[in-house]
């Protein structure tokens, strides 16, 4: 059955403009859709192919491209196959449609993405803050938010230097890199401008 799964999906999506379907593994299919046709794709997958279970919605911040990528992971209990539907929406204003009416679990994930990335989902039942109720800063998961810089500017550190450590340090040992110098983030990540 495994090898056959990809074909019905591609046949299913033949009518939808701009949706590409690609088999990635034994039980994995990747669909590249556009923001306009994604609701239709999901509707087809749920209605015709039995993809009932929305496993997760992932958001990725492509800051350099000025886009957010949204990935809808759907699982079919009948086909035993997982479909990941990818779309890209512009980073500004960062608004997209909710799929809550199709998949109820979407409510949680959309609220989560709204908190962490600031993407607003029109029609989602609850976009109030859930996790970050005490947070007034920018959406923290965006790549342009420097968490470590914020931490260094906000918090003080416990100064623990007992005698035994001082003795070691006098001999030239101890903590080689001081905490304020050890910024793990100083090394650049590809695709991320600071």
């Amino acid at each position: 059955m495994n090898g056959e799964v990809g074909r019905p999906i591609s046949r299913l999506l033949a009518d939808v403009d701009g949706a590409r379907c690609e088999r990635k593994g034994d039980r994995r299919v990747r669909i590249d859709a556009t923001p306009e046709n994604l609701p239709a794709v999901l509707e087809l997958l749920k209605g015709r192919a039995g993809y009932l279970h929305l496993s997760a919605i992932t958001c990725i911040d492509w800051m350099d491209d000025g886009e957010f990528e949204l990935i809808y992971h759907l699982w079919s209990y009948e086909d035993r196959n997982l479909v990941s539907a990818h779309i890209r929406i512009p980073r500004e204003p960062g608004v997209y449609l909710s799929v809550y009416d199709l998949f109820e679990p979407a409510g949680f994930f959309e609220r989560d993405i709204h908190e962490m990335y600031g993407v607003f989902f029109e029609g989602s039942p609850d976009q109030e803050k859930f996790i970050l109720t005490e947070w007034n800063g920018p959406p923290p998961m965006r790549k342009d938010f420097d968490a470590e810089g914020w931490v260094q500017g906000t918090f003080q550190w416990e100064d623990y230097r007992p005698e035994w450590l001082q003795e070691i340090e006098e001999k030239g040992g101890g903590i080689a890199i001081k905490p304020e110098q050890a910024r793990a983030n100083t090394r650049k990540i590809r695709g991320w401008k600071q």
């Binding site: 923290p140 914020w150 931490v151 906000t154 918090f155 003080q156 550190w157 416990e158 983030n185």
Partner: protein
């Protein structure tokens, strides 16, 4: 942190009174009701410490459910900013003498979450901590060892850092306001309590408590109305 050193148990001249003090400190050490606030992962090592294998009750330590009944506040792990607010409220509701134990490295200095935007780093800034139990996470034996250390301190009359919260309230409030904003207030009137119980110190009031008095709304009792018609008629 030791701007105002606290006195060790004041020795009273009356020998009977001294025996009485020692008896009370002994009982305090041998009967510790703890409120374990599961702020983080360390909470998973408390059930083993409490249950059949390590059995804390041998030492007279037993879990309690509400802050009013508890003597020890166990902060088990990293404290996120959202939790820290609740931790402070919980701490202020406890009756003195009260002790705070910070379990896990995260309570000392942020631990492995030192880069995280969501966790508070130095618990000692916000509450007077008596004992830290470092480790990620400390084993049940380590937890019990930490509690035994606190026991020894109480027995010797040295575990007085809860007084610090009353005597140096301004400093703790400063750290809290730094994190929660200048409008932060708690329902407990710490300054009033400090005056009432002769715990008023040079650091109780200061720049930050003045800020508190500017915006503090007096607490009103909760109204419990059960019938809608009562409301209409009044």
């Amino acid at each position: 942190m030791n701007d105002f050193p606290l006195p060790v148990r004041a020795e009273r001249s009356n020998p009977l009174a001294r025996v009485f003090d020692e008896l009370i400190d002994f009982c305090r050490a041998r009967s510790m009701f703890m409120l374990h606030y599961c702020t983080g992962c360390g909470a998973i090592e408390l059930p083993p410490a409490m249950t059949s294998r390590f059995d804390m009750e041998r030492l007279g330590i037993q879990p309690m459910v509400t802050p009013r009944q508890a003597d020890i506040l166990l902060i088990t792990g990293y404290v996120s900013i959202k939790t820290l607010k609740r931790v402070i409220l919980t701490y202020e509701q406890m009756g003195s003498p009260k002790y705070v134990i910070g379990i896990c490295s995260c309570t000392v200095n942020g631990g492995m979450y030192w880069q995280s935007y969501a966790t508070a780093k130095k618990l000692n800034e916000y509450l007077p901590v008596d004992v830290y139990i470092a480790g990620c996470m400390p084993r049940p034996e380590a937890v019990i060892e930490g509690l035994r250390k606190l026991m020894g301190e109480i027995k010797a009359g040295r575990a007085n850092s809860w007084e610090r919260y009353f005597r140096e309230y301004d400093r703790y409030l400063a750290a809290q306001q730094n994190l929660f904003g200048p409008n932060w207030q708690t329902p407990t009137d710490i300054i009033g309590e400090a005056r009432d119980y002769q715990l008023y110190g040079p650091g109780t009031e200061g720049r930050h408590t003045e800020l508190l008095q500017q915006h503090q709304v007096p607490l009103q009792p909760l109204r419990m109305t059960l019938h809608s018609d009562v409301e209409k008629s009044s």
